[in-house]
Symmetry: T
Subunit: 149 residues, 12 copies
């Protein structure tokens, strides 16, 4: 199982600032990600939450149950240290995903408090970032399987 | 419709540190604001929430429904970038309101992460800030009407 | 008596960068403020000066004579500590006013050296900020009268 | 009544990074704290919450009802200014507690936004910090009683 | 044509610090990337250079000739502003790639001077980042074709 | 043997700023600490010194002889890196103690150069911090005994 | 008409620190600049003022009357944001001029608050900077004429 | 001749914040300083100005005419670099004087931009600082006379 | 002989971002500079290099052979301390030249590491900066000749 | 009794860097200070110590015995927070004295950790600072006597 | 084999700023170092390069071939992170060498980006630093031999 | 005579953290240094002190008596400005020595307050640094002798 997480305001995708975030809605993105996951033989679970605590709880719930988490935490990326700690406590594959390229936006978006505890980051590819993230999950799971116990 | 939002701890108004925040309770303030709004021919909706996510959701709910938002976000003013993003996605009139004058208090209260995305700020007038904010809403809505489509 | 003060370059209002400052001229703004004051039973005195020292002297002259000062100090807002000290020495009602929203402009406009010594701030409402400031003066004077000696 | 509060991710205690946090589970810690409190003639109430807002509400609910709060806020310690304001509005005994020694960890854990508004801090003693905190509560309550009205 | 660029010290891949960079040699990575590109119907050109100037020249040479650049600039990522300017002058698809996750390493690796001028970043997936980058190139080129002239 | 160390100016306790440090004299505190230690079956040795070097020497002398050190270093807490190094070279239980809550005082008192090398910190409980520190020593020694060789 | 402006202390030129500023007096510089302007078919107007406000007023007076301003603002260069705003409101050619090379002097002279709003800067050429500035004015006016309406 | 200079707001001495500045009026201080100077066989000239430019001009006027300058520049002390440059160009004895102790007040008063170019500073002695400054002038002039040409 | 140096990416002039850098190509600029030099009786040598080391070597080669260097170092201006040291070791006339006004662009372009070791700077005049720089060279060489040995 | 304190290295006065500190030896300065004190009817006690702890002890010893302390702490001025705390605990007149003008020297000498807790500072007058300090003591003691109990 | 590396501008030794760097030429230094190496039974290879990339390549070439590298990187010391990474990938003895004492020069020379990855640093001994570095190489190689496999 | 100085905690060498400081005891190091000095015809004097003041006094005592000082100041290296001033007042050869490489340790060890006033620094060679320092002393003394009076 792969858990896809979206943080605050991402429920507005498609409506909010399309030049930055693209025109796909959240449903579109989840559907496309689900399709990509299915193609890779992976099931997808999705949660969008505006509350940091709900994302923390979802990560806790994924322990021992989901093989990977893909997280686009929205603005929480930049100050939510509790989310950092939750991800740090999760042993599966962890991917940080951004639609836009935060380094090309306001200074406060240049630092991610999640980045130090994820396997990798995919940023700036708008809707295309989602199937890329599934591709990354697939590859990292393969690596782990190969590395063996 | 005008949406009046209060952030965490503002439910304690009247009890908490009256020299800083004045002696009016939150109910008093909401009632006074409602009266001022009514006088201006505007309906008022109110939410006090301790959770950033609830305020974010209320702002989402105001899209295409409320003409203006007046927000006193309490301590969230100084770190809640998700609230910033929610306000940025809202096209109506937006006013940041503070009972006290944050610039005369602790250094961490000197920066507002909401200020860059609101129309204007009214700070330091204790209970009087509320009818002033309604006055500002009224004027800004007039301007927008005048400017036409 | 209410003293309305304008700092450097504000004599150019209406001509200078209308998208930031609006299209009203300084005369328009003073006239509108005078009208609002008159409605509130208050006389208005006005000074625009490019020199910090002239504003300092005007504040000194207002001691024991004017009940309130409304000051839009222009760029002096951000470095004129002598103006800060002059306002600190004045006991009447003090309101800091800005046409634009400084928090949405260049970083050096994000800090006000006057803010720590005023009663409150009204920023971002363009020409509408003036009658709002008079409304604030009226209310604060009422409060002081009520509080008694 | 003493209110014991735990912030986000502390529900994972015993499972998460035992070299940092020790091997006791949250239930173990609460039980031990309750026992220590009982010995001191104090009742204990406990809440673990991942949401800052829930902790804020619990502190509000403790006003006029609980004599003391012991709070281990987890990562919220370092950015949750609303929690700071909630604690500031509470007049009882307030103790900040940490299992690990934050000063020996990442730089972002070196500053506590809660520290300026608590009576004292106990950090670094792992599970032993809990009975120590109850001991501190007991002593501070004695002092207050002695100081009289 | 896709241009794959590697900066200084990356010729040592496979020999240098495998726990950080993985065990694949540069030849392995280029071969795998070429295979992925071929599968996507794209030709691949490769340059590894220790000199910033050689990378700058290669980017100039790619103007009007290559549809995309994938660049893993090594340590130059963090101070080579001339490389930034070269990428800024290139209109094709631009992807910044890192084997390791710079955010989890020394502080000076936390800032990329290239990030503000690329389409997107893929970091932390070791050897798997290369086919992912080709996948991203393929998708971004599709988008551009679809968007039309 | 437990070594209790006091840094500069703490010989003035009881006389100096009682609202910050309480009314107990240093002799009172040492006596109370000794009594608490005796109750726990621990002998107490005490040194107050104004010189950093004397504290450093006392820590050296405690190596292989004292099971624990409790240190209230006064202002040295904030700049005495030699004291940091001395504590780092000591393998027994180490507790940093403060009468006042440094986080609620001047900014230069917010950082402790000793904190990174102690087991834990107890701060803000005035005279009550001393028996709490002895309680902490007792518990940490128990833990070490239990952990075995 | 070209307006040449000198800020505070520049009336002392020739007397003050000749190793930094050269031996020409202000009169010498103005005469040489006037001669250079005349050669270019341009009239020159000059003002030296110690007061920022006088320079602001002179810039206002140059609007719609002078084609260019050359300004050596002395120490005001480094903190006079009102002068910055005045220059920003002026649409003609604007040149910042320094006798010395501020980058080779004290750190506070390394930042110019005027630089962001001028066309260009000429610094470090002592007396020779003046005819160079006139040359620059001439060329920039030519460019503007050529660009047409 | 000794020139005594006072900066902005110091005309309010005696009225403004007596706990900080003492109860003497500016006239009192000037009279006392004149008397002290007379006793030392020195004539005194005095100027209080709110404008930095007037102080700059007074310093220029003192060149080759006054043997010493004593300057209490008020808030200009902290940002008036033109005043710094004016003092730097003056070769006589230069003394910076403050009634209050700026180091014990707000952080922005902790740095003096005048200090690097004066002979010495006398701060914190309220009205007594004036005769002390005259004493210092007297002594420094003696030293210069003794040192000879 | 005057040596004209261009740093990385300036070979793209005319193609790259014309709104910032103008429409002249590098060949145009060199030709115009050569013509201006010839008029002043000066020969011109030119090098454009993307490598800092090539510029360093060119400066070394100019020692004892060229009377002046005019350098537009592109992005190297902001971090190339080796270029700084090379210029510091060169005794002839040294002029830093920029087409655009770096102070009006991104923050990292606001500091020049070359500025402290050049005679002067000419910035912001686009193509016109080149003949101005030749004019400056001519004048500075005249001054040096006049000053004699 | 007035206590005159000198910190580390001041025993070398007269030998060490006379252009900064003057040519008087420490004995000369103490003698001159003693003479000035005697003239004012004050006895003088003197201590030069290289150890911060010795200065701290001397300040403790002056409590309830000396009416004033004049302290030239040498380099300790800039980091000796224990000396700050010792001075803070002393209720008599406290004067910080420097031979040189620290603001005109290296940056680390620009901040005094003692300044916030003294009555006033006298800096930059070389040997003349001593009799000035005695004059200041005399005046401040007079003030305190006049103010009465 | 010992590899001696010199960075940019060091080819000018003997000509450039002798008060800082001494009067020996680079050839003198290399000859003296070679002699010292020969005495220690070590062969010496030397490269001076102005290009960071050439130094990087030389370090790569030394892998598995040279027992030690002595590097005087000139200004590259302070920003060349690629050189840092190259040295980090080299397992032999590594010594950073400076002719002058960078800590006594401009602030930007106070930080070395190479220091964290070398065995040790020798700085400030002008020409004498070279035989000292050879002595250090000899001793470190002895230690490694003694430590055995 | 060469004076070898050791700062606080260095008496523990051999016992304390051998992976950082090596296994030699202080006696071993002093003996080896004495032997190296004897070979060079130099006598050695040694002091280890935990107190900054004792080191300051030893440096004073070495004036006019010892030809050189070699100082390993331990943690005092990073904050002991009085030691800086003492070394600054000493005219003989001065060498700063560190066993470990401070640049590869905690950030607070990266800055030396002694470095600006020594001839040179030798760091990171563990026990081998001592004979290297003696070699450096020998060479620097030779240079001084050669330079003559």
């Amino acid at each position: 199982m792969v858990l896809l997480l979206h943080g605050p305001n991402l429920n507005l995708l498609g409506e909010r600032d399309p030049s930055t975030y693209g025109t796909a809605t959240l449903d579109d993105l989840v559907a496309a990600t689900g399709a990509a996951a299915a193609e890779a033989g992976l099931a997808l679970e999705h949660l969008q939450a505006n509350a940091e605590a709900d994302l923390v709880a979802a990560i806790h719930g994924a322990r021992h149950r989901c093989a990977a988490i893909v997280v686009n935490a929205g603005a929480l990326t930049h100050y939510a240290w509790s989310l950092h700690d939750a991800l740090a406590s999760y042993d599966g594959v962890k991917i940080e995903l951004h639609l836009s390229n935060p380094a090309a936006r306001e200074p406060w978006r240049h630092v991610s408090v999640l980045a130090p505890v994820v396997d990798g980051t995919i940023a700036g590819f708008k809707a295309d970032g989602y199937p890329l993230a599934i591709g990354a999950v697939e590859r990292l799971l393969d690596r782990r399987r190969t590395a063996g116990p």
